[in-house]
């Protein structure tokens, strides 16, 4: 084991830069994407095509006063935005960007991601409650029931992948899918996994949208009914951290989907595998997130929970059984 002190420090800086740039520029991408879909231009003023907009937004947020409402629980109110950022950045530690670019190839990295993700839920819950605002509490309750409901099918589909690859190490899972798109878990030819793994992929993707509280599942910040949900009372960088956390969660979700289903850094035709393929894949997925957000209206909380409990969970259970069956039989 290389115990040089520089390696972790370099990775830390790299991850922080990646996280920071993504958190800043995904906001820009989202506004541009939303603009194009609605046939507007999106931000244009700050810099060329509005490229300096994230900077301007950041400066604006920093100059605002960080208000703590008088009815709020001061400590928890201040801690919650920080908690929202922790899992997003920590998760990036175990993401294998390429064969050689990974901060830590942990044996249980899949499990680590989901274990850490529970802190984000805690952040929403505490932030919502500590605001001392009815909207925020309702939003926190919604967010938690939604996240609990969608964690189950998500974990069940991940179990399929773990069964196929025989490992909980994200790097091993990605290595297992090298050599063209027919080796990827979504279209996997051996053992006829392609027959049902695309369903698992769709389930996983829907769940990752729901877990990151994105539209059409953004029940937690339903601005038309709950103002901004758990973020209602937050101003300045408290709000900024929640927003950054949301975008980073999208990045982590896309990275995870890429690693688990789309072969990680593998090229679709077996040529030039490398980190650029990983980046291309995650940004296609992130674009899909944005595309979906600006296509569908928000669902109702009942329909949302029904979708998870009545459709996704039975389907993912059947998927687990099918995976076991196909692994054993063929």
């Amino acid at each position: 084991m290389d115990t040089s002190i520089w390696r972790p420090i370099l990775y830390l800086i790299g991850i922080m830069v990646f996280a920071g740039l993504n958190a800043a520029y995904l906001g820009w991408c989202e506004r541009k994407g939303a603009g194009r879909i609605q046939r507007r231009t999106g931000p244009m003023e700050a810099g060329y095509e509005g490229l300096l907009q994230p900077l301007a937004d950041g400066i604006k947020l920093l100059t605002k006063q960080l208000l703590v409402p008088s009815g709020a629980d001061g400590i928890l109110f201040r801690v919650a935005p920080v908690l929202a950022m922790i899992p997003a950045i920590t998760s990036l530690v175990v993401i294998p960007f390429s064969e050689n670019i990974q901060a830590r190839a942990m044996e249980l990295s899949v499990l680590l991601l989901f274990a850490i993700a529970s802190i984000a839920m805690m952040a929403v819950l505490l932030g919502g409650w500590a605001s001392g605002n009815k909207y925020s509490v309702i939003s926190a309750a919604r967010a938690v029931s939604q996240n609990l409901a969608y964690e189950i099918p998500m974990l069940l589909t991940v179990i399929c992948i773990v069964m196929i690859s025989g490992s909980m190490n994200l790097r091993d899972i990605a290595m297992d899918q090298q050599g063209g798109f027919w080796h990827w878990n979504i279209f996997r030819l051996d053992n006829f996994h392609f027959l049902y793994m695309w369903v698992a992929f769709i389930i996983f993707f829907i769940c990752s949208i729901a877990e990151t509280n994105r539209a059409p599942f953004d029940m937690a910040e339903a601005e038309s009914e709950l103002v901004a949900g758990f973020m209602t009372e937050y101003s300045s960088m408290g709000f900024g951290l929640f927003m950054m956390g949301e975008y980073l969660n999208i990045v982590v979700g896309a990275c995870l989907t890429t690693t688990l289903f789309l072969g990680g850094w593998d090229c679709p035709f077996g040529m030039f595998p490398g980190v650029w393929w990983f980046i291309i894949k995650i940004y296609i997925l992130i674009f899909t997130f944005i595309w979906i957000r600006w296509t569908y209206p928000r669902t109702q909380i009942y329909k949302l929970l029904n979708l998870s409990w009545k459709i996704l969970i039975p389907f993912s259970l059947v998927n687990v059984l099918l995976t076991a069956f196909f692994i054993k039989v063929f």
Partner: protein
């Protein structure tokens, strides 16, 4: 049970349809105008404040100071004066002041004008902190345009 499968199938199909629509819109050209850089053409029937029409040959106003517009104006916005210059048949305009603060854009002045001397301008960038900015000297405006 068949309703369950039907819901899933119909639902997925409609979701895909929705995605296709937004994807198509994504690649279509932008329809909004970038206002300060991209000044829109006003429609022919747009009514800005009135302005004088210049003679196409000389560039001087068509107005002969018949005072019809002043009389027609219900709000008393128009003040105009003219003088008869040497060697000319008609009077020529020396001063035409429009008090736009009182004008309701009724168009009676344009209707009353028999000499093709008044029209609605296409001016819409009108804002000021000062009331006096809306007492507009139309003769000066015409000179500036020429």
């Amino acid at each position: 049970m068949s309703g369950y499968w039907n819901d899933i199938l119909v639902g997925s199909k409609s979701l895909v349809t929705g995605l296709m629509i937004t994807a198509r819109e994504f690649f279509k050209p932008v329809v909004t105008e970038q206002y300060p850089y991209d000044v829109p053409e006003m429609t022919p029937l747009f009514r800005g404040h009135v302005e004088l029409i210049a003679n196409e040959e000389t560039g001087a106003p068509n107005c002969i100071v018949c005072m019809a517009c002043q009389r027609a104006c219900p709000s008393d916005c128009i003040t105009l004066a003219g003088e008869k210059k040497e060697g000319e048949k008609k009077k020529s305009l020396t001063q035409y002041q429009l008090d736009f603060t009182k004008c309701s854009l009724c168009g009676s002045c344009v209707e009353a004008c028999n000499f093709n001397a008044l029209q609605f301008s296409k001016e819409y960038n009108l804002c000021s902190f000062n009331k006096d900015d809306f007492i507009i000297d139309l003769v000066k405006r015409l000179e500036d345009q020429n």
